[in-house]
Symmetry: C2
Subunit: 213 residues, 2 copies
């Protein structure tokens, strides 16, 4: 009798739209949905975001919302995915041409600052990556992102220290990157002054590890 009670499609594709918008009209509507969700998250946090409110603010019906997003988390995921794609491009660009230790120092420090400022300024990002851990799909996205970013760092390190053990470099880069995210998240949750100190301390620590000494 259950019929469709089996609503547990929890495998892959956690986030692809239930249906991809193929017409211009629907593509614009999906944009409006995401914009509405983004605004609501900025105002109240993703947890308090209500699907009905998203639909209303986007000027669509609740049914339309679910036509393109399988569930509530998928909306948050879609926003998160945009942020990571954007920042990955930024990171790749910043590290691409690093050739020596001095260059790494400069580029890394710059990236950390950008990331810190981004978190300070973007409530949506803050919210999404704070709640990360609770959501399996988001956690995986973050891990994948972190690994990808670490790879850019590894590429640089391999150039600077060709003799070093690759596995070691890999581990170091991954750890340094994840800790950077942790440091920034910590920094924004305390007052600005202490936050600045924490970020500065992280930079020192990370660079000591990356460029040795």
């Amino acid at each position: 009798m259950d019929g469709k009670t089996a609503a547990k499609p929890d495998q892959a594709a956690m986030a692809s739209p239930r249906r991809a918008p193929s017409q211009q009209r629907s593509r614009e509507r999906v944009e409006r949905m995401l914009a509405a969700a983004s605004a609501l998250i900025a105002e109240q946090g993703s947890d308090a975001m209500r699907m009905g409110e998203v639909a209303e603010r986007a000027g669509v019906s609740i049914g339309s919302l679910y036509q393109f997003f399988p569930d509530k988390r998928a909306i948050v995921w879609a926003l998160a995915e945009r942020y990571t794609a954007e920042s990955q491009a930024c990171i790749a660009a910043a590290l691409k041409d690093v050739g020596d230790a001095e260059g790494l120092k400069r580029a890394f420090s710059e990236l950390v600052d950008i990331y810190y400022r981004l978190f300070l300024a973007e409530p949506v990002m803050r919210d999404i990556w704070s709640g990360t851990q609770a959501d399996k799909a988001l956690r995986e996205l973050e891990l994948a992102d972190s690994r990808a970013n670490a790879e850019f760092l590894v590429a640089v390190l391999k150039r600077l220290r060709p003799a070093a053990d690759p596995v070691q470099l890999e581990t170091t880069a991954f750890l340094v990157w994840q800790m950077g995210e942790a440091a920034v998240r910590l920094a924004i949750s305390v007052d600005r002054q202490e936050g600045d100190r924490l970020v500065a301390a992280y930079k020192r620590m990370a660079l000591r590890e990356l460029v040795g000494e």
Copy 2:
């Protein structure tokens, strides 16, 4: 005053029992509720934990559950609070008698291992501290815990490096501690081998920072 109301006066208290159990009977029932919640969290995660199920498994009515816990999060908070109290005592003890750099190295390394193993073995702890960020009360508990633990570390550092800037030590200890938590959380979310490498790398990094080279 009554026996073990370890909770503080509930002004800001997000989570103190709606009503403190004063009779032996109710104290036992509250224990059963917490035990049931703990088991359910271990099985399915705190998000999937249902209040009705907690009540049923504890052998009490849903009403009784709400008599002692104002809401669902309060149950998770109560469990989290126990863990932090326990671990804080453990940490304080381990760092209490550290007198030199060698001792710090040994004690710190030991603590990280304990923490790592704890997270590997305790699904409840893993769940609680993964979802931390999403819940304001839990986030505050974690920050307070981290600060408290950092204090123990600061006490040691002041003994080892009396000339250092206290604010600097404070910042370093706090950061190192938070990163330890981040490192362990990262380590348990990847395969065991990589996790071990990450924890080892963290230890090296942290100790280099703490005992300076």
